[in-house]
Amino acid sequence: MKTFSLENKNVLITGASSGIGAACSILCSVSGANVILIGRNQERLDQTLKNLKPGNHTKLPVDLLNVEGIEKTLEETLKKYGKIHGFIHSAGLDISRPLNSLRHIDYQTIFDTNVICGFEIARILSKRQFSPIDGASYIFIASVMGLAGVPAKIAYSASKGALLAGCRSMALELAAKKIRVNCISPAIVRTELVNKLFNDLPEEAVEKIKSMHPLGFGTPDDIANGCVYLLSDEAKWITGSNLVIDGGYSCQ
């Protein structure tokens, strides 16, 4: 089967140690890209690295909560690669707490990881020294919860809504450099993070969530396929958009 080609492209992926980020890393390598994996957990990054199709891949253990330290760490590695053709910001935290249980630190932590560090990395990658003359593609993994409300998801949905809004402005700003900026909004994808969250919910709540997905829960590969398309040259006229991949969740 012909897939979208990422041959000769360097792609940087956050959250690469598990879930959607790991699936994106593997599929990008299968599509021909050299992948720079970013994540906190060294052992799990090694695991993802092992699963990649051979290429000029590398890992970069970075704690994205240390927003200030990202630039220095990244630049050293990026200099070795030269230009970066693709970026997927898949790192994400989720906190399921009702309003009365949320604290300032919860909002701060979730926005630092889900939004600010992604935008910071985009800022660094969009510098002339790392930005290819024929353009690049940045993808932020948002969520349908950035579009529709869900109880106990105030901090999370606010962060994903911020990604959607910021992505549109970034797309306008970076169009002059031929850098395309898009979001992908998944509904519930069965990752370890989601399984952990489900353990904190009553059984009937999990069943209710399941019933809201006409095509059932998604898999990380469902999202990775969308990412490879948006990174590829076939998507060269798409920017500032939000690709909703949700098994029909938002039809209702």
């Binding site: 707490r97 353990n199 059984e203 709540a205």
Partner: protein, 73 residues
């Protein structure tokens, strides 16, 4: 923790209708209140509970047993 302090914190943490509770009070927890209780236990007692651990808690007394009677004075 003193019991009186615990009752006050629980009323606030779960936003209970009944503002004066004690060991004999019933707890009718909604799914959102389960999530608040998980945060409450983590913040006040360092207990990382899961919803499934809390499903049978329907009174303040049962909650205090879950936390551990020795934690109260």
């Amino acid at each position: 923790m003193r019991k009186e302090e615990f009752y006050l914190k629980l009323v606030d943490g779960l936003d209970l209708d009944d503002k004066e509770i004690n060991e004999n009070s019933a707890l009718h927890l909604t799914s959102l209140m389960h999530l608040s209780l998980i945060s409450f236990l983590d913040e006040n007692f360092g207990i990382r509970a899961k919803a499934i651990d809390l499903k049978d808690i329907d009174s303040v007394a049962k909650l205090m047993s879950f936390i551990g009677k020795e934690k109260f004075e």
